[in-house]
Subunit: 247 residues, 2 copies
């Protein structure tokens, strides 16, 4: 799990705040999928000047819950887990962030959750204040930000349905189908779903234990609905898994 070469973004990747050219963002592979896709060329240059490149190895923390949120991030490569911890150690993962995802949508004073890297990760980091000023001066960017937040909100509501009213099997199926869709936006193929997170992480996302996650996956594999491969799964019977996911 330590090295995770992002199988879906295999081509050499020129990152957003990559010093060489004056026009870094132009070559950013996730630009069109992220907030930056809403920017005019001159705004892109302006925002680029505010950004600091961030590069983390797997397991490093991006920020922690309840800390002062002095930065916001746009992930350019790699993935992360976002979670809240209860005092007694129970953990709820509230989401996984993939390339193109924006962390800090809410522009609030403090972080609502912790975030750490699941794989080596690169991101464009901005000072919250500078970013906030930038956005405030550009209503259409604020609008895009709000759209992204709205999308997050409906994902969260969908996750509430999954957590509250679905069985273990349905949870696993929805998780796989949902993740497949997100990976599909980022790459072409979508039969093999990279799983940069551990079984424990999946359990903490779905309100299950590691053991249940493992059992469900091996059962689906035994039933030839999928194939477990290193760092992911390959869906063999998408229809069946989709049916499970939709109840």
């Amino acid at each position: 799990m330590a090295s995770h070469p992002e199988p879906h973004l295999a081509a050499p990747l020129t990152l957003c705040p990559n010093a060489k050219a004056a026009t870094h963002c132009e070559q950013c592979r996730v630009r069109s999928l992220s907030l930056c896709g809403a920017l005019e060329p001159d705004e892109l240059i302006e925002l680029d000047r505010l950004s600091r490149p961030l590069s983390l190895s797997a397991r490093e923390t991006i920020f922690e819950q309840d800390e002062l949120a002095d930065s916001v991030f746009n992930i350019t490569a790699g993935s992360a887990r976002l979670y809240r911890l209860l005092p007694d150690g129970r953990r709820q993962i509230v989401g996984f962030a993939l390339p193109g995802d924006f962390l800090g949508l809410s522009l609030t004073e403090r972080n609502a959750f912790s975030a750490d890297a699941l794989t080596p990760l690169t991101a464009c980091q901005f000072s919250r204040q500078a970013f906030s000023d930038f956005v405030d001066a550009k209503p259409h960017v604020l609008r895009k930000l709000h759209q992204l937040a709205s999308h997050e909100l409906s994902m969260a509501q969908e996750q509430m349905v999954i957590l509250g009213r679905r069985t273990a099997e349905e949870k696993i199926a929805s998780f796989l189908i949902g993740l497949r869709k997100r990976w599909a936006r980022l790459s072409q193929q979508s039969v093999t779903i990279p799983l940069p997170m551990t079984r424990q992480d999946i359990g903490d996302f779905l309100g299950l234990t590691v053991e249940t996650v493992s059992r469900m996956l091996t059962r689906l594999a035994r039933e030839k609905a999928l194939l477990i491969v290193p760092d992911g799964v390959r869906l063999l019977d998408v229809k069946r898994i989709e049916t499970m996911a939709e109840s």
Copy 2:
């Protein structure tokens, strides 16, 4: 449960879009708590002109999931439940709306959930298009809208923790403490918590069955942590319930 006279807002209530005066909103009791609190006087008048008064009895539906979202709403009195239905009838309530709450934060094409009135309810209704145009022309209003959406998002994430990682007892306790806090914003007192929703609704919000909700409430009552009163509960031992809620 049929008639529910809003015990916390007992004084005669002049509603936002109430024909008498030219200045309806000025007397709106939830104005300062809602989106309208962010408006300048002239904007308030402008928005008021876009609004249509809406008045529903308990059980009437406000809108339904997947329908075209042609309206947005600002609730001025009464409460509502927001929920998603699975094809087989299982239901997840994603939230309860109280006076001052705004429905339609996401400005998306279609409703992500259904909403219906738990009690007689009044609201200011706006055409989504007109409202959207109004907001687009006023960055600071858009910013407020985004703030509200961010707040919704963190509530949803908190609910994910509750659904995924807490026991039945903790769920009930967090629910009561959370609702208490919300009622407290709207009124002064906060020992008696109105529960305009049924036990079934609470169960569908917390991922429990009616029976479990009932059992937990009666157990807390038996243990003198609270008192079950008509259409609500009175907290006798707030500390204890808060401790349960925080795990």
